[in-house]
Structures are given as C-alpha cells and as structure tokens.
C-alpha cells in the first residue's frame, strides 16, 4: 500500500502536501504549526493550548465561533489539538467545500488579531480552566500527564512543564501575549498544510495559492534551546503519589530514542512486545498468570526532539500494593534484558502495527494528519510510505540490544499512584503535559 503524495512550497515558506483518493466525496484539510508547549516562556505554561482555543474565536472576516458553525453547516467535522512540540487544526468536509476550509484557515493564519478582544480571552481562559479541572484535577490519575514529563525531563528542559498549564499562569495570560505568540509562531513558514481525499490537484493548488499566497513570511521564530539529553536518566527516578484513587497504578518510563530515528523502531517494537495486545508480556504475566494487574499497556510518546519516552502503564488489582506492581514490572523488564526477545514476538508486534496502520489510513483526516506530521518533523511527507518497511526491518537482535542499552535500572522513572489511605511516602510536587483537544 502506497499513499500518493505531491508536495510544493509557496514563496512565503508554506509547505503543502496533497494526497488524492476519490473513493468518496470527502476532503480533509489539516494544518500543523510547529509550535507547542515547549515554546512557551517561563510563567506562561498552558499558553500554546489557550492560544489554540483563541483560533476558534474569529478572525478578520469570521465572527467568534463562526468557524465551527460554517464548517458544521457545510457538513464537516473539525477540531484542533496542542501537543508538546506542535499544534494542529483540522477539518473533514464534503469535497465540494474544500474552498471554504482553505479560506477559513487562511483567514486566521493571515488576519487573526483584528478579532481578538479581552472578553474573548477571559471566556476562553475560563473554558480552559474548566478543561483542566475536567481532564486533570477531577479525574483519577489525571495528573499523570503533568507529573510524568516533570519527572522524566530536567527542570530547564522545554518538555518538563505542564502543557495544560497552571491556574496562575493561565490567569496571567494577556492580549499582548496573544499578539506576540501569533506574530512569532503562526506564520506560513512555520506551518504545513495537507489536503487528502477527493479533490482536483490543479484546482487545489490554485486555491492554496490564492488564499495563503498573500500571507507574509514571519520574522524567524526564536530557536528552541538545545534539547538533547544523555541516553539514560543515570539512575532510577521515583515519585509516589498518594491520591484519591481506589487502586494503585504505575507509569514506568524509560528515556528512549527520538521518533523517526533508526533506533526508534526497535524501541517501538519493544514497547509492543511488552504492552500492546493481549499476548504482550505485561498482559500475559501480570494480568493472566499472576493476576496482580487488571490493565497493562506500553507505548511511546513519539517525540522527535531531544529524547522520547517509552512508557509502561499498569493498573493494579485492589488487593495488591503499589510496591508489588513496581517490583513485578521491574522483574519483567529485567527478564526481557537478560533473556532477550524471540523472532515470533517481533513478528506478532509488527503484524499488529501493520494492521493498525493500514486501518487508520482509511480515514482522510488521519492520512492528512500523518502527512503533516512527517512534513513538519522531517520536511518529508513521503516518509509515511516507509513506515511499515521500517518496522519490518526490525530484528529480534536489535530489540534485545535496545532493551539492554535502554531499559536498565539506570534509566527508569516510576510514577506510582497509591490510594491516599494506604500511602506511606510523601507527595512529589511536579508540573507538566497532556494532549489537549480544543
């Protein structure tokens, strides 16, 4: 399976990718801005995400919330989301509405500021504070999004702090911040536009040129500080959080090679062998054999800068202590390092990855989002077509070698939630990250 791809760049720096598929009269438009919480300045945690909300508050020719209304009236679905190192905006519409989506996106990229008011900012600040209460503060284990990156990245690292932001920093955000952030990061040369689905390529090119062409290039954005980190934490970092929960839950993280690197694919397969699917090691041993956990998964954050995280997420049974869970997961990882993985395990993991990838490519929105991702991170959307082969090239020896290098006791960070009533150790104060959807 190969996704057809055409790429071009406007004079103002906007990178555009097109991928035709005429099986249904549907088109997806997807914009990635290469800015996320990592780009926030001190004292403004949560601003990248608050700013994402402001992009739905109108622009020079669009009224507040009209973006939503126009797209839904056209029969489209839409949203935006903010992550550590990018922010995306996307809509899927009937294919005869492509021009509307492009015009709307161009209007807010070119002329957001005339529509910004203090009142809109105040309302969205309240909405985001409620989003924080809903997804983090009033949700069992909800603070893990903040606590894990805070534990696993050093305090001065751009991935350390909270993505959703602290209440104080959200309160402090001003209209001047909105103006400055917009001028710095929301420029065509800091964005990728992808269009996937049922469109005529020459017509799409013409529409893109007409709507986005006049938007001026930005003054270069300030570079991120050096984000590189040593391969390992250097010790076993630990945080225990007594919380209002009924059962213990462990997040065990390892510093891991960045998304897209050669070693990343071994790391991804290792996480799948440990925690993807019912025959993964965590599920087989902890859920079925020992019956000490009720849920167990493994995944990578897929960060392309500095260092990635490989995370094992294990929820204990009510009668089992947090220490038992932590010990059992540690033993499993040690065993994988000592005895290695088999070819069969690698094949199983790759088969699951392949089915999931082909299945997800059925959706125009998913296709456009992945094209934007590869174009934003690596300047090359066609990498989408290499992914399955890169997984297939992974060998059992490589996975074992990865485990020996990266999953040792000197590269672990455990974030352990325990019921407050059963708690013994003190709370660790941390702050930091969640993928938040507007």
């Amino acid at each position: 399976m190969r996704i057809p791809i055409e790429t071009f760049r406007l004079d103002n720096g906007l990178l555009v990718t097109l991928s035709e598929d005429h099986t249904a009269p549907i088109v997806a438009v997807n914009l990635w801005y290469h800015v996320g919480s990592a780009n926030e300045r001190a004292g403004r945690t949560g601003f990248a995400h608050l700013f994402e909300h402001m992009l739905f508050q109108g622009s020079a020719n669009v009224a507040a919330n009209e973006h939503f209304e126009l797209v839904q009236r056209a029969g489209g679905t839409l949203n935006g989301s903010t992550w550590l190192d990018r922010t995306n905006y996307f809509e899927t519409l009937p294919s005869n509405q492509l021009a509307l989506a492009l015009w709307l996106e161009a209007d807010r990229m070119g002329a957001l500021l005339p529509a910004m008011t203090q009142q809109k900012l105040d309302t969205q600040r309240d909405v985001v504070k409620n989003e924080r209460r809903w997804s983090v503060d009033n949700q069992p284990y909800g603070t893990w999004w903040e606590r894990l990156p805070a534990l696993a990245y050093p305090p001065d690292h751009p991935f350390h702090h909270s993505l959703i932001g602290s209440m104080e920093d959200l309160t402090a955000a001003s209209l001047e911040d909105v103006e400055h952030f917009f001028a710095t990061f929301y420029t065509p040369d800091n964005a990728v536009l992808s269009i996937a689905g049922d469109f005529d390529p020459s017509e799409a090119r013409e529409l893109v040129r007409r709507h986005f062409g006049p938007i001026p290039r930005g003054a270069r954005k300030p570079p991120l500080p050096d984000m590189s980190l040593p391969d390992r934490f250097g010790r076993w970092l630990r945080a225990t959080v007594p919380d209002e929960v009924m059962v213990p839950r462990l997040f065990l993280a390892f510093r891991s090679p960045v998304f897209g690197s050669e070693e990343y694919y071994s790391a991804s397969v290792a996480s799948a062998i440990l925690g993807v699917g019912k025959s993964s090691r965590l599920q087989r041993v902890l859920v079925r054999e020992r019956e000490i956990a009720s849920e167990a998964t493994g995944f990578t954050f897929d960060l392309s800068k500095g260092a990635d995280l490989l995370v094992l997420d294990v929820t204990g049974r009510p009668e089992v202590s947090g220490d038992t869970i932590e010990g059992a997961v540690g033993d499993l990882v040690d065993d994988l390092r000592t005895n290695g993985v088999s070819r069969e395990e690698v094949e199983r993991a790759i088969a699951l990855v392949e089915t999931a990838f082909v299945t997800s490519m059925q959706s125009a929105g998913e296709r456009a989002d992945k094209l934007s991702m590869f174009a934003t991170y690596f300047g090359d959307p066609s990498l989408i077509n290499d992914q399955v082969d890169r997984y297939r090239a992974v060998t059992a020896e490589q996975v074992t070698q990865f485990a020996r290098a990266r999953l040792g006791k000197d590269n672990r960070a455990s974030l352990l939630y325990v019921p407050a009533s059963a708690a013994r150790s003190g709370v660790v104060e941390t702050r930091a990250a969640a993928e938040v959807v507007s």
Binding site: A63, W103, S279, S294, L352
Partner: protein, 464 residues
C-alpha cells in the same frame, strides 16, 4: 455573522451512496451481510448475536458482558495464551463485548489473513471452553472496575443517573456490566448456559465489510460457520418504566471536588420511533452540536464549562435522554438553571429556518464522512440489524433529515422533553453546591455518598 462577500461558495456536490450490501441466509439460519469496499486491503468482520444485557436471566446482571469477554479466554483446543497468540500473529485484533441489545465479536484484519483469522473466530464462538480460572479472573476485574468507579466522577454520574431514572426492578437501572452482588453470584455453568441459549445462528448476523467480493465472503463464512447447529434465541423486551414521574435532585457528595459533574434528563424514546428524525434534529440544535444552544450558552457565553452536550441514548426500548456537562463548583446551580431555561426555550417556540438548517445541513453533509472506514460501516449495519431498520434506511436517510421542518422540531421538543420529569444529578462538593441547589427549589433533594448510599440508609445499616 460577518459580511459574507469573500466567502467561497461550495462547488457542485458530488454524489455519494452508502456502500451497496448483499444479504444472504445460511442453511442453519445465520444471516450474512456483505459490503464490498475496494479501498485498502483490509476487512472488518462482526458477528452480532441477540445476547445483550436485556436478555440476561433474572439475578444474573452482567452475565452478557462476562460471557462475551469470556469467549476470548480459550477454546476446547486452545488455551487463552495459544488463542491470543494465534490471532495476534495474524495481526488481527478481535474484540468481544456486550451492550444492552447485542453481544458481538468484531475483528479487523488484512485481507490476505482473513480466512485464517475467520477460522479462529468460528472456533471462539462455536467451541468456547470458559476456563474456570479465567472466568474468575474476569469477575475479579469487573469487581475492581466497580470499586474504581467510586473515585471517577464522570462514570459515577452516568451510572447513578440511570439508577435514579428507571424503576428499581428494570434492567436499565443497573449498569450493563452488572453490580458487585450480581457478578459475584455468576458461575461457569451460568455462563455456559447463557452462551448456549443466546449465541445461536438463527438470531445472529455476520457482517463482512471491506476488500472482498460477495462470493468470496460468503464462501469464507459458510466454510467456517455452517457447522453451527440451527437454533434461534427468542427476543426479549427490556422493562423501561421510570422510577418516578416528578422532578427530583440527587446530590452525590464528593468532598473537595474541583468541579461538578451534572446530568439532567429523563427517559427518552426507543430507537425505532415514527418521530426519530424530528427528535434527532431537535437534539442537535439543543445540545448535539458545538454550535448548539446549550454548548454556546454554558461554554461560550458563560465560560462555566469545557463542554456541554445533550443526547438520546438509543436502545431497542426507551433509553435515557440526558444533558451532560462538568462545571466549576460555584456555578453548579447557575449552570443547571441555564440548562432548564434552554429546555424550556426549545419547547416555547419554533426555531428559525436559519437555525434549523444548521442541523439538517450538518447531518446531510456529514453522512459520507461517517462511513470512511470498514469498522464504521460495520457499526452502521450492526445498528440496522439490532434495531431492525429497513433495508433502504441509509439510502433515504438524507431525504428524511431534509424533510424535518421547524414545526416537527417544536412538536418533538414538546413531546420528548418533559421539564416536570427531569432528574438532576450532581456529583460535587456539598459544601459549595448544596445550598444553591436547594435554593433553586427544583424538587425534593436527596444526598448520597459515592457508593450511591443515602445518609439514612447508611445510618440504618450502620456500616458505611
């Protein structure tokens, strides 16, 4: 709205038809629906049995879900580990679960591996072993889930809302997964008996969607499932009587909660109803869209919440109608007041043509976007099977949406929204929300702990 002079007008709409499907019946009574979709080399298979929670024997609440999940725990010839490994080495993700009106196995797999994977699906449904040990494990996992619910405000609000809505002996009053007491009482023999009684070809449909022709699909299904002995499970209707017909407020006390989870609603209407489309469009305008009245009021005008929505929970019998939101603690009563105001406003006068078209043009336009994937098409056909929707349902859907008028919307609002019967559930901090809620004087108010026990009951039992 701003000046629309620069706005691009839509081009001519290109035609869309819901994928064509073929139906067949095997000799043993198994219904088959095949939907060839030639896009990517992938196939989704669903086996949908009349084995939902409403068909459970009395006292065995939760057995439908337990049985569905236990199907994947081993067969006569394969242990759970051997079975899972065989499936996953084919890259097949096979799920089994039950909801109110069905028990279903669903799998998505690359076309090249379909035949092998189907052999395993057939083995799972025809020769399950229900190993004692795995079954006890699944029960313990359900008990842990019930325990965790007490610390999870969203799920707790949903669960208690249903309990306050339906008569205490209605199946709908309990969670579909069952209660701690009912699940603990289920044994292996019950599960084997439920499987034998409810998973029968005459009341099951196999749905195959994706990169495969009709003949090939039928051949695969026939070769794997023809051995299933011909039998049919009788239909069962759920009891959907309400607990009460007057308004009441239920405060679930969670000290120091930073936010209140609110559920406001009453019993709705069955999925198959002559006024389904009017109710659907009415709800989109009330709280079904981002630009709906309730969301724009609570989120965009007041900043009370991250989001507020309303929906009908469609089932074969009458499921709940509910407005759901989570709001800052100190505006809990004010937010509830706004919801009631919007419900009243919906019933008071006709919507404008402009507002009506927001819902109808959305539903019409989004129709093809809903069926982009094989799994989504399989879900749509599953609904057709479960509710008995007519074969032309998808082909006439957009016409029927377009035909809904402002008068229809008003009629639906007046008939299906019943302010005097609303049950209001708030899971929140009693120190902040009790007084303002009392002051609203919506109806009698009762307080509960997070196990759903009232203070009086706790006093009588003396154990909490």
């Amino acid at each position: 709205m701003k000046e629309s002079a620069h706005r691009p007008a839509p081009g001519p709409a290109r035609p869309y038809h819901f994928p064509h499907f073929e139906r067949a019946t095997l000799d043993n009574g198994l219904s088959v629906i095949v939907v060839p979709v030639r896009k990517l080399p992938v196939v989704t298979v669903s086996l949908v049995a009349d084995a939902g929670a409403v068909t459970e024997p009395a006292g065995q609440d939760g057995i439908a879900r337990l049985t569905a999940r236990a199907l994947l725990e081993g067969t006569r010839s394969r242990s759970v580990d051997a079975l899972t490994e065989s499936l996953e080495r084919l890259g097949a993700s096979l799920d089994a679960d039950a909801e109110w009106d069905s028990g279903a196995l669903t799998m998505t797999v690359l076309t090249s591996r379909l035949s092998e994977a189907m052999a395993l699906v057939a083995e799972v449904v025809l020769e399950p072993a229900f190993p004692e040990r795995e079954l006890e494990r699944l029960k313990a996992e359900r008990l842990a889930e019930i325990l965790q619910r007490r610390a999870e405000p969203r799920g707790l609000a949903d669960e208690l809302f249903s309990r306050f809505l339906y008569a205490s002996d209605s199946r709908y009053a309990l969670p579909d997964g069952g209660s701690a007491a009912s699940v603990s009482a289920i044994h292996r023999d019950h599960v084997a008996a439920f499987h034998a009684a409810r998973y029968r070809p005459g009341s099951t449909t196999a749905i195959i969607v994706g990169d495969i022709g009709v003949d090939d699909a039928l051949r695969v299904v026939r070769s794997r499932l023809n051995a299933w002995p011909a039998e049919r499970a009788p239909g069962v209707d759920a009891d959907d009587r309400p607990a009460r017909r007057t308004r009441a407020v239920h405060l679930v006390e969670k000290a120091d909660a930073p936010q209140s989870e609110l559920r406001i609603g009453h019993i709705g209407i069955p999925r198959v109803h002559p006024d389904y489309f009017a109710a659907l469009v009415m709800n989109m305008l009330l709280g079904g869209l981002f630009s709906s009245r309730i969301n724009l009021n609570l989120r965009e005008a007041h900043g009370y919440t991250y989001g507020a929505s309303s929906f009908f929970d469609w089932r074969r019998q009458a499921g709940p109608f509910v407005v759901a939101t989570a709001v800052r603690s100190d505006v809990t009563a004010a937010a509830a007041r706004e919801v009631l105001t919007e419900i009243d406003r919906m019933r008071a006068e006709k919507v404008s043509a402009e507002e009506l078209s927001l819902a109808t043009s959305y539903l019409e336009g989004v129709f093809p976007i809903r069926y982009e994937t094989t799994a989504a098409i399989a879900r749509a056909l599953t609904a057709m099977v479960i509710y008995g929707l007519p074969p032309d349902y998808f082909d006439t859907y957009r016409d029927r949406v377009r035909a809904v008028s402002a008068a229809d919307v008003l009629r639906a609002a007046r008939e299906f929204l019943r302010p005097e019967e609303l049950q209001l559930v708030a899971v929140g901090d009693p120190a902040v929300v009790r007084e303002p809620l009392e002051a609203m004087d919506l109806g009698p108010m009762q307080s509960y702990d997070t196990a759903g026990v009232t203070s009086q009951e706790a006093g009588v039992r003396g154990d909490t």
